[in-house]
């Protein structure tokens, strides 16, 4: 396939070159194909709104399917801290899980909840209209209840689990009575199970209850968290000492993931880490859309002016730089979309700054090429020497920016500063991609153009030489 493509391109370029009278080298063609593939793939990534490859999903309804930060799409960024200094990492995970469950039930799409720095939970609620309502839900106490379930109907095609087929009755047993729940393995079969242990108040109630319903096919223990059913197991043997386990059915055994998840959920109804809201930042969607539109406008105007400047000042080389810069923008957007990087206002500023760096790499190279041309080299050799001479300064100067980005990322990692991280990530990626774009794309494009008829007019590449030529003509 690739060989076919290569031959096809080789022939068509051969045809093209016979028209403009140029011999295309194998190396140039390879480079050309390489650039074509990279830019083509990036362009496809940017333009296809939804990307689904197996379980890999990117894109969405936003502009170009990019992931937008909360300040651009509107939403709320909340950070909670455990009021109890002794809260463990596990307690925080349980609390985060509780928040996640409630926020999902509240209907916030793509909410992100994450434990940061050991004792904090960061909650990101994109596109939310009523933050106060969400905060209220997060602040509520979890309600775990054990109820007595009586099945009215229980047939294979009409099971007891259906809401209309059973009745639940309160037995005065709640999450307060549960000491802990943890995942484990059944001793003989090795299948995943959930261990539960009740405290001194819960133990006798649970013992009495399990003794009463054991062996009754129409009875279940309904375990309900925040009005959502978690499990409804049948009692196989009475649990008198308060410690027992729940296992899956023969047809439908538990998975390891399942027992871990359910254990966390059981614990979330059991213990509650008191949380304090220590940071909030909420932006109305309308303001986010406004900011996005404004900064896009600014970016496009700025980019347009830069392109214009490059073409006017560096002539043909400027055209190449303009192409390279557009390629740079496409590749960067594709990378942002695929990782994905959430674009924030600060991130856009970082991206804009990296455009400056991308231009810088091109300018460094072109100034060198111009110098080499002045010493009388041929265009092709001037391009090669120019690139080789410019590379150390491009590399060394960009490393200092990359260093700064790494430090900024750390600075932002501790919370409240997702803006800072957004900036650090976009600037870092921007600088790396800009080096690539200058070294691979600008260089090869310049060489390609140098091979065409245009390349035989050096004045298109260096303004000075054009002026000198005029002077020489006048002098003679």
């Amino acid at each position: 396939m690739s060989r076919f493509l290569f031959r096809f391109l080789h022939r068509s370029l051969g045809l093209l070159s016979s028209l403009v009278g140029v011999a295309w080298g194998r190396r140039t063609i390879r480079a050309f194909i390489f650039i074509l593939i990279i830019v083509g793939v990036s362009l496809a990534v940017v333009l296809v709104p939804d990307i689904h490859i197996g379980g890999f999903e990117r894109g969405g309804d936003n502009l170009l399917g990019l992931t937008l930060g909360l300040d651009l799409q509107g939403g709320s960024h909340l950070v909670y801290e455990a009021a109890d200094p002794d809260a463990t990492e596990d307690d925080m995970k349980v609390a985060a899980n509780t928040i996640e469950r409630r926020v999902n039930a509240f209907g916030v799409a793509e909410a992100a909840i994450q434990v940061v720095g050991g004792d904090r939970i960061m909650v990101q609620l994109p596109g939310i209209a009523d933050v106060e309502e969400a905060k209220k839900l997060i602040g509520q106490t979890a309600r775990l209840e054990f109820k007595e379930r009586t099945c009215l109907v229980d047939e294979p095609d009409n099971p007891c689990e259906k809401p209309e087929n059973h009745e639940d009755k309160d037995i005065g047993l709640t999450g307060d009575d549960l000491a802990r729940a943890w995942p484990g393995q059944e001793q003989t079969k090795g299948t995943p199970i959930i261990n539960i242990q009740f405290n001194s108040r819960g133990t006798p109630i649970f013992a009495e209850f399990t003794k009463r319903i054991v062996g009754d096919n129409m009875k279940r223990i309904a375990i309900i968290l925040d009005n959502t059913e978690l499990l409804a197991p049948v009692v196989k043997s009475p649990i008198l000492n308060g410690t027992g386990f729940i296992e899956g059915s023969l047809q439908n055994p538990f998975t390891i993931d399942q027992v871990q998840r359910i254990s966390v959920q059981l614990n979330s109804g059991r213990l509650r880490v008191p949380l304090n809201l220590i940071h909030e930042s909420t932006v109305d969607a309308i303001l986010g859309a406004d900011s996005l539109q404004k900064s896009l406008q600014a970016g496009l105007v700025g980019l347009g002016l830069v392109l214009l400047f490059m073409v006017v000042y560096y002539r043909m080389a400027g055209v190449v730089a303009a192409l390279a810069l557009m390629n740079y923008t496409i590749i960067a957007l594709a990378v942002f979309k695929m990782l994905p990087v959430a674009l924030t206002l600060a991130g856009i500023a970082g991206f804009v700054l990296s455009i400056g760096m991308a231009v810088d790499a091109n300018i460094l190279i072109f100034e060198r090429v111009k110098e080499e041309l002045r010493t009388g080299r041929s265009l092709s050799s001037a391009i090669e020497t120019g690139f080789r001479r410019a590379w150390p300064s491009i590399r060394d100067s960009n490393i200092s920016t990359l260093l700064t980005c790494v430090i900024l990322y750390w600075f932002g990692s501790r919370l409240g500063a997702s803006l800072v991280q957004g900036f650090a990530v976009t600037l870092f990626l921007g600088v790396v991609i800009s080096m690539f774009s200058a070294i691979v794309i600008s260089r090869n494009l310049l060489q390609l153009i140098g091979l065409t008829a245009v390349g035989r007019i050096p004045s298109l590449f260096t303004p000075e030489r054009a002026r000198e030529a005029v002077r020489v003509t006048r002098g003679s």
């Binding site: 106490t141 303001l287 900011s291 600060a346 700054l353 100067s397 200092s400």
Partner: protein, 318 residues
């Protein structure tokens, strides 16, 4: 043209700019800290009609916040900064007993001033603010050390790498002082506040300053390796001319995009973009007119001459 010969003027120019900044930094408050560093609450509200500061202030004073800092942005928007506002209180049955204070303020403003069309609310607890200040200090310190180490490494092959490192660091400190001074003056004249994003701006400027200096020094390094016999003064002068086109073009193109972002982009990132703009201007200036000139001054003994002029060192016997 001989740029090096005019170095005294460049040093004086930098000195004047830095001195103005230092004077402003010495008059408290050196910089106006935003809520990221002090803690507290801030909201930006957009009303359905043009509003005045006084009508907003009277509502806030009535709500028990006479300390509020109120700035009208544009015509219909207002920025209000207060001490930390109370969160909503929930009763035992999870019902709201008292709504959050900022909601009460928004309702009062909506009733007494004009309907609110869009809002932005940020609150930062003192815990987070203290931590931000500490992390910012650590980040700046680490950045300074990392950049120092990096400069020493980058110039390991030139004669006197230490001098290159010191001159680059002086240029770096120069840029830092100019940006800090500018924000100090802007804080006193235009109420410009500094926040976490300002730290981002400062650190990026540090990175950029080194970036720019390295490009110039790299050229000097290359020219020295080609012509050992020539005096440093000439080599540096030539290198400056060779890199001048690049330095100006890069700064100009970057500035064009940043100015577009400053004028057309939202108000939220203005302080950050402004820090970039000031930093790029001073970074370019210092790489050409401070760092490289200092390198020559060191070589030809300017510092000794200055000391002798001030009668701080004995006159040379020869």
């Amino acid at each position: 043209m001989d740029i090096i010969g005019k170095r005294l003027w460049f040093f004086l120019g930098s000195g004047a700019a830095i001195l103005a900044g230092i004077i402003s930094l010495l008059i408290p408050p050196a910089l106006r800290p935003g809520i990221d560093f002090t803690g507290g609450s801030a909201m930006t509200l957009t009303f359905s009609r043009a509003i005045s500061e006084s009508e907003v202030r009277s509502v806030l004073t009535g709500m028990g916040h006479p300390e509020a800092i109120i700035q009208v942005l544009g015509e219909d928007s207002v920025f209000i900064r207060t001490t930390a506002l109370r969160e909503a209180e929930l009763g035992p049955d999870d019902s709201v007993v008292t709504p959050a204070e900022h909601v009460q303020i928004e309702e009062a403003l909506g009733d007494n001033v004009a309907p609110i069309e869009a809002r932005e609310f940020t609150s930062v607890s003192p815990v987070v603010a203290r931590e931000t200040v500490r992390n910012a200090a650590i980040a700046v310190a680490i950045a300074a050390v990392a950049i120092l180490v990096y400069i020493t490494w980058a110039f390991r092959r030139v004669p006197n790498p230490f001098r290159y490192g010191v001159c680059a660091v002086v240029a770096l400190v120069h840029d830092l002082l100019v940006v800090l001074g500018a924000f100090s003056i802007l804080g006193k004249t235009m109420n410009m506040e500094v926040n976490s994003m300002f730290i981002v701006g400062v650190l990026t400027v540090l990175g950029y300053s080194v970036n720019d200096t390295i490009v110039v020094f790299d050229r000097i390094r290359e020219n020295i390796s080609q012509a050992i016999e020539r005096p440093l003064r000439e080599v540096v002068n030539e290198s400056l001319w060779q890199t001048l086109g690049r330095s100006l073009n890069t700064s100009l193109t970057t500035l064009v995009v940043l100015v577009a972002l400053y004028l057309l982009g939202g108000s939220t990132i203005r302080p950050l973009v402004l820090a970039f703009i000031i930093g790029i201007v001073t970074g370019t200036y210092s790489s050409i007119f401070v760092a490289s000139q200092l390198l020559v001054s060191w070589e030809i003994g300017d510092f000794g001459r200055v000391l002798r002029f001030l009668h701080l060192a004995p006159a040379r016997s020869s």
